[in-house]
């Protein structure tokens, strides 16, 4: 049986791991390569590396981090941030990424997803969907896509967008609730479930994890295939093993190492 993936996420800026609270007020959580190695040893199922400054142009410190991480970690590595063209996808795969996450550029040009999937296979194209609830309290829930770190509304329905990029060839959706990101009050479970049910590909839940129960809810109520978190792991509040034990207790299949 396919197990639920537990994915620590390293947000990287200027060669260091940071964790944004609603994308402001960054805190330094150390050297990304060291952190990656520690998570590999701890039995993380996958690692996500995001360049939040996203100023690279096919080279630079972020590419060195990707390559050093890939050199030392024998687990899947998803890399994102500032991917604008097929050449960026190629460069990150060459540097050692297994999957490349496309965010803002896919909103502007969904055909970039198709171009990447045709060239390198759907299995390595992840589309990052950053969604924010736009419905009022008494309305049926509705979410829209936001770009540029959650600041810019794109005026696109999140469910329709997820279905569009999957039709274009995305092999996975990395779904972040912009309402919950950095809040530590848990995933937007309604959003996670709505997207998960709307697409055929795996959905990674992200944004808002403050404790291990949140991870379990992401699977049992959000129906996510994988759960991503940052600060609860980075600051030693919980280990990967703690997370898997809690998931297992909630009835989710996990890989114990």
């Amino acid at each position: 049986m396919l197990t639920v993936r537990v994915i620590p996420c390293l947000d990287v800026k200027d060669g260091r791991v940071v964790k944004g609270v609603n994308f402001v007020g960054l805190r330094d959580a150390g050297d990304p390569v060291e952190a990656a190695r520690a998570y590999d040893a701890a039995g993380a199922d996958e690692l996500c590396l995001l360049d939040i400054a996203a100023s690279h142009e096919g080279r630079g410190p972020f590419y060195d981090i990707v390559s050093q991480t890939a050199e030392q970690c024998f687990m899947p590595l998803t890399v994102g941030g500032g991917v604008r063209a097929v050449e960026d996808v190629r460069a990150l795969l060459r540097a050692g990424a297994d999957k490349v996450s496309i965010n803002t550029a896919a909103v502007k040009n969904p055909d970039l997803v198709a171009a990447g999937a045709d060239k390198f296979g759907a299995q390595c194209i992840v589309v990052a969907v950053d969604a924010k609830r736009v419905s009022g309290p008494d309305e049926a829930p509705r979410w829209e896509i936001f770009t540029h770190g959650g600041r810019t509304p794109a005026g696109i329905d999140a469910i329709e967008y997820a279905q569009l990029v999957v039709a274009k060839g995305a092999g996975e959706i990395l779904l972040t609730s912009m309402d919950r990101d950095g809040t530590r009050i848990g995933y937007d479970l309604e959003l996670t479930r709505a997207i998960s049910r709307a697409v055929s590909v795996p959905v990674v839940a992200s944004g808002g994890v403050g404790n291990l129960d949140h991870l379990a809810e992401g699977v049992t109520e959000g129906e996510a295939s994988a759960v991503l978190a940052a600060s609860i792991f980075h600051f030693g509040e919980a280990t990967i093993l703690d997370a898997k034990k809690r998931l297992a207790a909630a009835g989710a299949p996990v890989r114990m190492v």
Binding site: M1, L2, T3, V4, R5, D40, G43, D45, E46, S67, A70, E71, F74, M75, P76, L93, R94, A95, G96, A97, D98, F120, G121, A122, Q123, C124, G171, E172, R197, S200, V201, P202, V203, E223, S225, A226, R255, V257
Partner: protein, 213 residues
Amino acid sequence: MTDKTVIVDYDSGNLHSAEKAFARAAADIGEEILVSAEPEDVLRAERVVLPGVGAFGDCAAGLHAARGLWEAIEQRVVKDGRPFFGICVGMQLMAERGLERGAHRGFGWIPGDVVEIERAGPEFKIPHMGWNKLDVATDHPVLATIPDNAHAYFVHSFHLRADNPDHILARTTHGVSFAAAVGRDNLIGTQFHPEKSQEVGQALIRAFLKWRP
């Protein structure tokens, strides 16, 4: 005559991880790895490793595009009987045909076709992506390293449907059961990625590098 294991480089996506994982495993047991696109190197290889990600047809075309590479692999593996390890699409290429976006010819070493995974229900997402349990069906020396209840990392939407059940060395289940590893004689292939499967994968690679079929 070289004593190197050659990883065949034919521009099929992420060669980097396979190279690093094999180099690490080889260093542990004092062997060497060569990544090469040259048929001459394949013809002298102690062992041949064929990685592959993406579509079956693209990978087959990539091997044919490099002049003499496909034939060199056939020569070294079939005629000279050197150990062969196919990974993911590299494993699928061992089949007779791949039915992903049209029909494409494989090496034909494992009779059968590469077909789309049938979705057994909406909860079974495709691609089959993540860590799944291996059910090893044989005492094959390369797979003997895999402990009970071990998981390996998979990412694929198609699987190799082997005609001869004896060619299926391990299985996994994602709504439906399919081959996680195939092989016969001096040939082995895994649908999962040993280079991404942490210690389970490293142990398997070391076993392949020591395998004398």
